[in-house]
Symmetry: C2
Subunit: 170 residues, 2 copies
DNA sequence: TATTGTTATACTCTATAACTATA
DNA sequence: TATAGTTATAGAGTATAACAATA
């Protein structure tokens, strides 16, 4: 059906490009707003948002890295930046002494709340305002399916980020 | 209809997150492939792809920057990297002496062709294979509309990238 | 021995401002 | 005076590998 192995047909190319272009423009706009309005990068905003939604405002480093950043050291770096800014705190986990628990601070929550309205404005102006409710529903359903597929089937040579990793050699 | 000024409803949030998550995972996977397989970054790949499609394999720096990179110096940097690698060449434009014309070399085209099949495989596996033809059509149409809206209406305080820029002060 | 997280390090990339040259 | 592009520079971010500590 999709001519496996061959080049992409125009419809496929158009869909791929549209996705990348829209997301890229949106992310750039959002990033600019976050930087100006709250001194936050996109990754930092995501970390705070996740912590804010997590029970108790906390998560383990590994769970946090899963889906936000693509390397452990990357998260360590970002957590350090956020901690220095007083937006999160880190402490050894009680149950597993190897783990570090990251907790969003009151300041972190406050900053998030302060930044959120403007963030939403940007998302609305650039993205949501151009969609009907039906469009949005379809888009979400379709992209949700794609996301599930991605998560289920990691591409060749890419290990899933948090489960048991099977390796052939060193 | 969309409660302007208020928070996003769950459907809007879900759509926004789905878009960002899918595009981010896809871009990361594609970037990894391009790096391993061709030593190219995402931006560099886009530059080569645009030049490859352009008549004569050439474009002016400004036209190239428009839509690929977000600052002129950023493109100068990338063009320098690509030129050093022998994938593009730069020469002064004939008609406008201020302009620089970037041209993709044979090596550049060859590298692009070599990398493309694997690139397409990744896009297929992670993205296209999870969509029906109808899904794809709808997605493309909807995202195309969003893209047009973005291009037409630059967000508050963001100047369009290539037209006359109105400034209040320094 | 595997997992969690940090550190050191090197590298890529981006943006700002100052600058040159042409229109 | 405005536009096209480069340079210098500084800063943010990322990944890899080596490391320490716990399971």
């Amino acid at each position: 059906m999709t001519r496996k192995g061959g080049p992409l047909d125009p419809a496929q190319l158009a869909g791929y490009f549209a996705l990348m272009e829209v997301s890229s423009l949106l992310q750039h706009a959002v990033e600019q707003h976050l930087r100006v309005d709250g001194g936050l990068s996109w990754v930092q905003f995501q970390i705070l948002a996740r912590l804010n939604d997590a029970p108790g405002g906390q998560q383990r480093m590994t769970d946090l890295a899963d889906g936000v950043v693509y390397s452990r050291s990357g998260l360590t770096y970002q957590a350090g930046v956020l901690e220095k800014a007083g937006l999160v705190s880190r402490s050894p986990s009680t149950d597993d002494e190897r783990s570090t628990t990251v907790t969003i601070t009151e300041e972190g929550r406050a900053l998030l709340l302060r930044v959120l309205p403007g963030h939403i404005d940007v998302v609305r102006e650039l993205f949501l305002d151009h969609l009907s409710a039906d469009d949005l529903a379809v888009l979400t359903e379709v992209l949700g399916r794609v996301r599930d597929g991605m998560r289920a089937a990691p591409p060749r040579s890419a290990a899933p980020r948090s489960s048991r990793t099977a390796r052939a050699s060193g």
